[in-house]
């Protein structure tokens, strides 16, 4: 039995269903991300684990104990909120100490553990400050220290990095990952940022419209998307409708890969290459944009517009207006059969 | 009822009970009182009659007073819009620290007792006051004419008492305005006047209209200012009701006057609100 188990969870607000038929097991020490667009039910799921929202149906168990009968304040979970929800009228140290006070930890131990927690997030000398005197990144660290200092059974992170700028976010990701590994705390992260989920998680749960689309390691979910939704939501993807011919599946009459039934081909832009020999999809380069470590090309083909990403590795690339032939390896593409809903 | 609703109701219960007990009940009793009879020998006669209302609605003496109240309130509202809205816009365009200091000057009078402020106007408007003397010096009047006990005097003093509400209301509207819209209009070649009329004024309109509601309803029900400036000679609805209560002691008639005043104000305010909501809900939603 997994450490945290969600069984057949459903949450409905009147006729609106926020989460439906959700089954999820999280192992001890694991870092798992709930990823999906806004309104997909990921935050509701987190709120149900925390106890702020009651499931309409289904069971949540932690280490074999049913959580549903436990009030939120008895669950012993650490939560980092999107807005951080720091207590504005308390100093940083008092914020971090609050959970320990609630647990009636002795004064001396509180001081020591608060110091440790603040040192862990790199704010050892900022304990006397008030939250509003700190930057967004620092507030976020305080929130993390406050959640971790109580040694929670699970750490719940609700879009914790969404209010930071790109550079801070990248730093914080590395740090979060390191702190989580060090403390070994089982962690559930809610995010709409695929890059964040890919970078941090052991496993990703992709959600859409209240349902789980796919659960798997970041690599699996990215490389072998289980549905068209996952393919388009995670990373960018090109889709072509293909018809069967005696020689294989063809896009606009050009055979691209083996196959016998009409299907939609999904192929990541970085898996599309230019070819000079053999079959392929002819096209014309519309735009070519330099992005630093890679190039982004829009190619107009008879099967529709195709996005191509090529590394900036010194190889010559076609210029705007040049005609090219596009090809990809069959194993890099994923097929969904025409007529079947993704 | 779920737990949330139960806790919610539990928390609002004290204030609700207080309000039902000491606001709703007395108001209901006043309404009832306005239907009681009265005689100078017996005082209040506990019968149910529409006699008080019939008397007010048929007597031209009362009609004149209610019309005067309405006329004064409308003039006060109009003048407050005409001077309050531009002042709010001017304040908005000021730089710090001027802006903060002059906002204090505008808000400050709101805190000063209405009686003290109206006393100032009694000094200014009286026969030896500065305004009649100034009008005389300018040759506008052949001799200094006191503005005490005149509608003009009451309107001037009420504008002074109420114009801060208009400035604050328009200010709040203007604060929501994106200042870039003015610069955008300027970059498109609009003159200052065009910017004010076409860009600023429409965005300030909700503030002008809601400020108008506040000023109108306070002007129509104002008591201390018309009582001091208008005196016994120039009655308005509120001073009339006061006289019936504390001088004539005909409480039922006074109550009927108060009820009519309240109904009139509420009807105008609600109608006005509807108009604003219909006109502006699309533009200023969310």
């Amino acid at each position: 039995m997994p450490y945290l188990a969600l069984e057949n969870i459903r949450k409905a607000y009147g006729p609106a269903v926020a989460v439906d038929r959700l089954d999820l097991g999280v192992e001890k020490g694991e870092f798992i991300s709930l990823l999906g667009p806004s309104g997909c039910g990921k935050t509701t799921t987190l709120q149900m684990i925390a106890g702020f929202v009651e499931p309409t149906q289904g069971a949540i168990a932690l280490d074999g104990i049913d959580l549903s009968r436990l009030a939120p304040e008895k669950r012993g979970l650490g939560i980092v909120f999107q807005s951080y929800a720091l207590f504005p009228h308390m100093t940083v140290a008092a914020n971090v100490a609050f959970g320990l006070e609630m647990r009636r930890v002795g004064k001396a131990e509180i001081r020591q553990r608060v110091e440790q927690a603040l040192a862990m997030v790199g704010l050892a000398d900022k304990g006397g400050r008030y939250p509003r005197q700190m930057s967004g990144g620092q507030q976020q660290r305080v929130a993390l220290a406050r959640a971790l200092v109580i040694r929670p059974a699970i750490l719940l992170l609700d879009e914790p990095l969404s209010n930071l700028d790109a550079k801070q976010r990248e730093e914080m990701q590395l740090e979060l990952r390191q702190i989580q590994r060090q403390s070994g705390t089982t962690t559930v992260l809610v995010t709409h940022d695929q890059q964040e989920a890919l970078a941090l998680s052991d496993r990703i749960v992709v959600m859409n419209q209240g349902r789980v689309e796919q659960i798997g390691s970041p690599f699996d979910v990215y490389e072998r998307p289980g549905s068209a939704f996952v393919a388009t939501f995670l990373g960018r993807t090109n889709t072509f409708s293909a018809e069967p011919t005696p020689r294989g599946l063809a896009v606009a009459g050009h055979v691209m890969m083996p196959g016998e039934r009409p299907a939609t081909i999904s192929i990541r832009p970085e898996k599309v290459d230019f070819t000079t020999d053999g079959d392929g999809l002819p096209g014309r380069v519309l735009t070519r944009v330099f992005q630093g470590n890679h190039w982004l090309l829009h190619v107009e083909t008879p099967g529709g517009l195709c996005l191509v990403i090529r590394p900036n590795d010194g190889r010559p690339l076609p210029g705007e207006g040049e005609t090219v032939v596009l090809a990809f390896r069959a194993r890099d593409a994923s097929l969904s059969l025409a007529g079947s809903t993704p | 009822m779920n737990a949330q609703a139960r806790q919610g109701w539990l928390l609002v219960a004290p204030a609700t009970l207080l309000f039902v007990g000491i606001v709703a009940t007395p108001l209901a009793m006043t309404l009832l009182l306005s239907f009681n009879g009265w005689s100078s020998t017996q005082g209040i006669v506990p019968t149910l009659t529409v006699q008080n209302y019939a008397e007010i609605l048929s007597d031209s003496f009362f009609a004149e007073i209610f019309l005067r109240t309405l006329r004064i309130a409308l003039w006060v509202t109009l003048i407050c819009v005409l001077i309050g809205a531009p002042e709010a816009y001017i304040l908005r365009r000021m730089r710090e620290p001027w802006r903060s200091s002059f906002i204090l000057v505008v808000i400050g009078p709101l805190l000063v007792s209405v009686v003290a402020r109206t006393l100032g106007w009694a000094l200014l408007l009286g026969g030896n006051g500065l305004i009649p003397l100034a009008l005389h010096r300018l040759g506008l009047t052949s001799s200094p004419v006191s503005l005490m006990f005149t509608e003009t005097g009451v309107v001037i003093a009420l504008v002074h008492v109420l114009v801060p509400f208009m400035v604050l209301s328009v200010w709040a509207s203007l604060a929501r305005m994106d200042p870039a819209t003015e610069r955008a209009a300027q970059s498109l070649g609009a003159s200052q006047i065009t910017i004010f009329l076409r860009i600023v004024l429409p965005q300030a309109m909700p503030g002008i209209l809601s400020g108008g509601i506040i000023v109108f309803s306070l002007a129509a029900s104002a008591f201390a200012t018309p009582a001091i400036i208008g005196g016994r000679r120039l009655k308005v609805a509120s001073t009339l009701a006061y006289d019936e209560f504390l001088n004539t002691l005909n409480w039922p008639l006074g109550a009927a006057i108060a009820v009519l005043l309240l109904v009139g104000i509420v009807a105008i305010v609600v109608g006005w609100n509807r108009f604003i909501e219909r006109r502006y809900s699309q533009v200023f939603a969310s």
């Binding site: 304040e73 959970g99 | 004290p14 207080l18 000491i22 006393l119 002074h160 604050l168 009820v259």
Partner: protein, 265 residues
């Protein structure tokens, strides 16, 4: 954008219009003469000294302070739970209740005065201090409510969730988190309520008795009899008192915030 010369002339005229009556009252208060006049040669304090001979004004001032303090305190105490419920719980009738609590703003004070006069005379408590305070609680409640409600709504609901998640029960959450966070709202609600109560005339005229007269009402009845330098001196002191209070509030809280809310511009 800058104001043009025409705008500045208009602004100057507006400011003169706003301040002239109050400045005039203060000037006349210093007249050495026995009649209404603006002091031209010298300032005299004789009319301020005369106030001491009218103990009513001093008693009325004390009554005003007491009534305003009591009524504002009671109003804030009732407003806190109601504002918390309206800001943070979803229940049917929530919107209607809020409108109900704001209703005294819409009801003319004249009507309230008449209603209380009738109510108290039937209950046999006319002219009592208790009656006066209850009336003032009603008048100032919307102001107290508005400020506390603004503080309660402005509070991030997640802050409470955070306290709960850290193991705080309901009572601890209220004591340690919610109440400390709305204390500024309570203080400003009290200040606004106090000002409203202290200046109230129209309703109080109906329910005050000879022994429970407030300062504005005493001034009002005096003015109805006669206007002389004495009443100007009393008004001048009241204006001075108000200006001092205003500066204190502005220093600690900001008048702009009190009357307009947070300045977003």
């Amino acid at each position: 954008m800058r104001n043009g010369p025409l705008a500045l002339v208009f602004h100057a005229a507006f400011v003169v219009f706003l301040l002239a009556p109050m400045v005039l009252v203060c000037l006349v208060a210093f007249t050495p003469e026995g009649f209404l006049s603006i002091p031209t040669t010298r300032f005299s304090l004789r009319w301020f000294e005369r106030i001491a001979q009218y103990p009513d004004f001093i008693a009325a001032f004390r009554t005003s302070l007491f009534v305003a303090t009591a009524a504002s305190l009671i109003a804030v105490l009732f407003a806190v739970p109601a504002a918390l419920a309206i800001a943070r719980y979803r229940f049917t009738g929530r919107e209607a209740l809020n409108a109900f609590f704001m209703a005294p703003l819409m009801i003319p004070h004249l009507v309230l005065g008449i209603a209380f006069l009738r109510f108290y005379s039937l209950l046999g408590i006319s002219g009592t201090m208790a009656g006066l305070i209850i009336g003032h609680v009603v008048v100032v409640f919307p102001f107290a409510m508005r400020m506390v409600l603004a503080a309660a709504t402005g509070m991030d609901k997640r802050i409470e969730d955070a306290a709960t998640a850290l193991g705080a029960d309901r009572i601890t959450t209220y004591r340690r988190i919610v109440i400390p966070l709305i204390i500024p709202g309570m203080a400003s609600g009290f200040a606004l309520a106090f000002i409203q109560s202290f200046d109230e005339v129209t309703m109080t005229v109906f329910i005050a008795s000879a022994t429970t007269t407030t300062l504005p009402v005493r001034m009002f009845t005096y003015i109805q009899d006669s206007i002389d330098p004495l009443i100007c001196a009393v008004s001048a002191l009241l204006i001075l008192f108000t200006v001092l209070a205003m500066l204190v509030i502005d220093r600690f809280y900001g008048l702009q915030r009190l009357f307009i809310g947070e300045d977003k511009s």
